[in-house]
Amino acid sequence: MLALVSPALLVILMLIVLPVGWLAWQSIYHDGFTLENYRRVFTEDVYWRSFALTFEISLAVTLIALLLGYPLAYLANSLPKGWSILILSLVLLPFWTSVLVRAYAWLALLQRTGVINQFLRYLDLISEPLALVHNTFGTVVATVHILLPFMVLPLYATMQKIPDDLMQAGASLGASPSLTFFRVFLPLSLPGVLAGCTMVFVLCLGFYITPELLGGGRTVMVSMLVSRNVELYNQFGAASAVAVVLLLSVLAIFFIVSRFISLDRVLGQK
């Protein structure tokens, strides 16, 4: 059996374990051991600000995705099978469109001469085009759009497992619909909330394409710090240290979450 799994394992070891290990090594070794790169990451303003901004954006994206995703998952769960399949297909439709294509679509929608600005001017609601993109706003709008399916699917999967009887029992004991929702349904759906939030937050921490294309150069997320240190400044040690800190943050989050729910649930394979 080990022989069967070894080709796949070899590919993973050579192309992800070795490269990440290389990054870790490079972050502490440059003509001798040094913690200089980490000192820079933790003390220099540019790095601090970028990490803080990335966590803020990820938190905002996660909360917005939860606010938008929960009602949708709830509705899909409460409708007959045919309708819920339709809703889930519509959620998955953008999921299978390239992230790059969707970034382009948001540029087309949000830019100064874009669809939304033209529409608002046509309605005479605004006289000057709104700055909807090349800033943090545009980044968040497009990022939530890309990550929303990762919120809706675990939510829906969890809600599906909540027995209807419980709500009926609540109602028959005299609880109002809102009381049964808040006291019975909501608490039982929390594992799905945690799974969805974890996935969205973690994916957002490492997001690259949307902040790069829609952030207008001012929204420097950690991923852009990594790529700029490699491509523009040839600061391989610093890039590696940033990457290692980012990876450790992600692993720490997965570790903490795994104490509450099974990671299989987060990764979407029950």
Binding site: L72, Y208, I209, V250
Partner: protein, 261 residues
């Protein structure tokens, strides 16, 4: 359950708006790609295929398209057998070590892709794989493996291993019984896994940004570079074609899965 309470109406309205938010950007690309205007105007002034002509007549875009299709095809041909073999081994073995191996094989889903991309770039720079076809294919095999693995493991879960035992007790060897008994029954999950690996390779951008170059740049890398400079509707044409290809493939994959269950 279906009372039209105020709360329920709010729920419907909010959900409808969220669905519009999800779908609109996917649908907006096609009309832009068929517009005759040089700059974005909506609704488009008149119908035209000029951006598609521009795409087809540009040698750089055509070369990039060939690279993307070759990489995606080779990725499927390599990642599918590797993923099927690994999934079979994982589902059959009860070793504790296998659990660890399973988690390791899912690493590409866990490690932020930007980190993977930079790491591969450093390793490739050492061994001379930057801006080569084999380098690009290998990276995409790694990224596509988890999709094959997850899909095939799900297929194997609903397969009764006792059937294979029967075939072997009747004298077939393990390999023959796998191909004669097991594989036909998990075929649809294998095909679906392969299709997902294809889409993953076709859409992959970030690793390609770091490791591809010269004549071996896939479509996504050229699109990314073009998007940073100016918004050319040719990209809308390419995006529309890519999206259509993805949807056709997903339909193919899910309809096959549907047939089975």
């Amino acid at each position: 359950m279906m009372r039209a309470s105020p709360a329920r109406i709010v729920l419907f309205v909010v959900s409808a708006l969220v669905l519009v938010y999800l779908i609109l950007p996917v649908l907006i690309i096609a009309p832009i790609s068929f517009s005759s205007a040089r700059f974005l105007t909506f609704p488009p002034p008149s119908f035209s295929l000029r951006w598609y002509q521009q795409y087809v007549s540009n040698p750089a875009w055509m070369q990039a398209t060939r690279v993307t299709l070759t990489v995606a095809l080779l990725t499927v041909l390599i990642a599918t057998p590797l993923g099927v073999a690994a999934a079979y081994a994982i589902s059959q073995s009860k070793l504790r070590l296998m659990r660890l191996i399973h988690m390791t094989l899912l690493l590409p889903l866990v490690v932020p892709i930007i980190i993977t991309a930079v790491g591969i770039f450093f390793v490739y720079a050492r061994v001379g794989l930057v801006a080569t076809m084999p380098g690009l294919v290998l990276a995409n095999v790694m990224l596509g493996l988890p999709y094959v693995l997850i899909s095939v493991l799900a297929g194997l879960q609903s397969f009764d291993p006792a059937q294979e035992m029967v075939a072997r007790s009747l004298g077939m060897n393990r390999l023959r019984s796998f191909f004669a008994v097991t594989l036909p029954q998990i075929k649809s999950s294998v095909v679906a896994g392969g299709i997902f690996a294809f889409i993953s390779a076709m859409d992959e951008t970030i690793v390609a940004l770091f490791i591809s170059g010269g004549q071996y740049q896939p479509l996504t890398k050229r699109m990314f570079t073009a998007l940073r400079d100016e918004i050319d509707p040719t990209i809308a044409a390419i995006s529309t074609l890519m999206t259509a290809a993805s949807f056709l493939l997903v339909l193919l994959a899910t309809s096959r899965q549907g047939k089975k269950t």
